[in-house]
C-alpha cells in the first residue's frame, strides 16, 4: 500500500479564543466582548488582562467562524469586464485600497465581457458570504443580480444601467464632461468632429455619445460622423482605419476611452497622419496610460479615487435598507498635446 501525503493536516488557527480566555483567566465571552467592543461592557482591568493575553499569544479571530455566525466575512467582491484594461485596473486598485483601509479584503472577478462569467462570479461571491459587491457590468446589459437581491447583499453598480435596479449606482458625469471635451475641440477651430464610440448594448444613448451630440448641436455645428467599435485597443485601431477611409476626413475625434484612443493613434501613425496637426484627438477616462502615448492624450479624467471611496462607503457605512442612490461625479479635462494644446512646435 502506497503512503499518500497527509492532506488531513488542515491549517487551523494556532491559537483560538479559548486559549486567550485560559491565559487571561476569564471566560471566552469576555474575550469576544473585548475583541468586538461589545455587546456587553468589560471592566478596564479585565480588558487589559485580555489584551495582554491576545498580544502574548498573537491571537487573531477566525473570520470564517465569524462569517458563519454573523454572516459577515469582511470580504467584498468586485467584478470587472476586463482587468487588463487600464481604466478598470486603476478603478480596482482604488477600490481595493479603500476597502483594505477599512479591514476588508477584495475578491476580484474578471468577467471577460461575458454575462455568463459575470453571473458565475456573483454566485461564487454569494457562496462565500461577501458583505458587498462592486459590479462593473458588461455595459448596459441587464446584470443577473438574482443571486444578490434575495440575499440582501449590498451592491454598488459602477456603471449606470438603463434598467432600474435596487442598488446604489456610482459613475462619472458622462454627458456634461463629454460635451465639454467636444466644445474644447471646437475651441481649437474644429467644425467636423467625429465620434469613436465603444459598443454598447441597450436602447438608451451612451452618455458620452449624448454629450457629443449636445455639444455639436449647442454650437450649431453640422452633424458629426460616428464610428462604432469595441472598447479596447484593437477596436480603436480598427476605428482609426475606418476613420482614415472617410470621405472628407473630419479634423477632430472624440473617443470614448483612452484604450481605444491608443489603438486609434497607432492607426494614425501607421498612415503618417499627424496628431494633432491633421487630426485632433480627445478621449475619455484619464488613465495612466494616456500620459505616455505619443502625442500625450488630452482626456476626460474620471475621479477614480473619489468614486472608489464613495463606493466603499456606500457598502460599509450604510444600513441595509437605505434607499438606493445615484451618485454622479464631475470629471476634469486634462489638456495635453493630442487636442492641439501647447503645439507651438511639433516633433
Amino acid at each position: 500500500m502506497v503512503l499518500m501525503p497527509d492532506l488531513s493536516a488542515s491549517p487551523r488557527p494556532v491559537v483560538t479564543r479559548k486559549d486567550v480566555a485560559r491565559l487571561a483567566g476569564v471566560s471566552t465571552a469576555v474575550v469576544s466582548y473585548v475583541v468586538n467592543g461589545g455587546p456587553k461592557n468589560v471592566s478596564p482591568a479585565t480588558e487589559e488582562k485580555v489584551r495582554q493575553a491576545i498580544a502574548a499569544l498573537g491571537y487573531r479571530p477566525n473570520i470564517a467562524a465569524r462569517a458563519l455566525k454573523v454572516g459577515s466575512s469582511q470580504i467584498l467582491g468586485m467584478v470587472v469586464p476586463k482587468i487588463s484594461s487600464p481604466f478598470f485596473a486603476g478603478l480596482a486598485k482604488a477600490v481595493e485600497q479603500a476597502a483594505e483601509e477599512r479591514g476588508f479584503a477584495m475578491l476580484l472577478g474578471d468577467s471577460r465581457d461575458s454575462l455568463a462569467v459575470e453571473s458565475r462570479h456573483l454566485r461564487n461571491f454569494v457562496d462565500r458570504q461577501v458583505d458587498g459587491v462592486f459590479l462593473c457590468s458588461v455595459v448596459n446589459h441587464r446584470p443577473d443580480v438574482s443571486e444578490l437581491d434575495g440575499r440582501g447583499i449590498k451592491t454598488v453598480l459602477l456603471n449606470f444601467s438603463e434598467y432600474p435596479l435596487p442598488f446604489d449606482a456610482i459613475g462619472p458625469e458622462f454627458v456634461g464632461s463629454s460635451r465639454q471635451a467636444v466644445e474644447h475641440l471646437a475651441g481649437h477651430g474644429h467644425r467636423d468632429i467625429a465620434l469613436v464610440q465603444g459598443l454598447v448594448t441597450g436602447n438608451t444613448l451612451d452618455g458620452r455619445e449624448q454629450g457629443w451630440r449636445d455639444a455639436l448641436e449647442g454650437l450649431g455645428l453640422p452633424e458629426g460622423r460616428v464610428i462604432r467599435c469595441p472598447f479596447d485597443r484593437a477596436g480603436g485601431y480598427e476605428a482609426g482605419r475606418r476613420f482614415l477611409a472617410l470621405p472628407q476626413r473630419p479634423t477632430a475625434v472624440f473617443i470614448t476611452s483612452d484604450e481605444q484612443a491608443v489603438g486609434f493613434l497607432r492607426a494614425m501613425h501607421e498612415a503618417g497622419v499627424r496628431v494633432p496637426e491633421d487630426v485632433a484627438v480627445f478621449s475619455f477616462d484619464g488613465s495612466e496610460e494616456a500620459e505616455f502615448t505619443w502625442p500625450p492624450l488630452s482626456t476626460v479624467r474620471q475621479p477614480v479615487q473619489e468614486m472608489a471611496e464613495a463606493a466603499v462607503r456606500a457598502i460599509i457605512g450604510s444600513g441595509r435598507d437605505d434607499p438606493a442612490r445615484i451618485q454622479v461625479f464631475p470629471c476634469e479635462l486634462v489638456l495635453r498635446r493630442s487636442c492641439g494644446c501647447g503645439t507651438t512646435h511639433s516633433g
Copy 2:
C-alpha cells in the same frame, strides 16, 4: 419611538443542508456524503433523491461553514506590487481565470511596492483561511512570509527571490531570453547596446541584466551602458531623457519591461529621435500594451497563461508536503517594428 432599519436580518443561506435532508427524507450526513462524494458510500437510489432535493431547493453549501470545519475556504489570494501595471494585470487575469475554472475565487491585494502593505495583505489572507497564496513580492526583498510558513499555507512565488524560501517559484527564463533579445538587436547590426534596467534591490544580478551582459560578452561587443530607473512608465521616460544625454549615444536599447519602454518611446518622440532608425528598442514582458505603441514594440513575451496555470496547479493539485520546486518558463521573441524588423518604409 423611531423605527430603525432592521440590521439584524443578516444574510444567511436561505436553504441549508437540513432542508435538503428533510425534503429528501434522509439525514444530514447523507447530504454531505452526496455533495462531497464521500467519505462514505450512498446507495444510487438515495443519491438520486438527494440530488433532486438539492435541485428543487437550489441548495448551495455554505462555504464559510465548510471553511470553519475543514479549513478550506475555496479562496486563493494574490498579491501584486501594482495592478495597474499591464503585466501584472495580465498575470492576475490569467491566474484568476485558472482559479475560477477550478471553483476557486481570488482575493487580490495591491501592495503598492510596499513591503508593509504586502505583509498586511498576507495577514488578511491568512485570517480569511485562504487555501493558497500567489505572491509577486516587491522585487527581491525578503518577503515577510512569517504568516504563511507556520500555517502551512501553500504559496507560489511569481518572481524569483535570491533568498531561499520553502515555496514553489514560477517565472520566466529571464537570462536566456534576454540574451536572445540582445543578440537579435546585434543581428540588426548594432554594436553599442544599452540597458534600461528596472530598480531591483538585493545583491544578485537581475536575470535580464545578466542576459544582456552574457549576450554582449558572447558576441565580443564592448561593454554597454546601464541606466537604472523605476519599473514604470515615468521611470522609462526619465531613462529616455538620460539616454538622450549620453555621449556617443548607443544605437540600441534593451529595456526590462514594456511599461518602461512606453515611457522611453515618449521621450524619443519628444526629442524627435526616430525608433528604430536612430535607436532600436527591445523590451520585456509581452503585455497587450506593447502591440499598440508607435512603433509597435518588439518584446520578449512571457507565457503568462502557462505560468498562471502552473501556479494554480502548484497550489491546488499537490500535497502539503511536496518539495518546493522551481519552474522556469521559456519565453518567445515577438518581433515588431521597434527593433528594426520589417522597416522597409517608415511613417
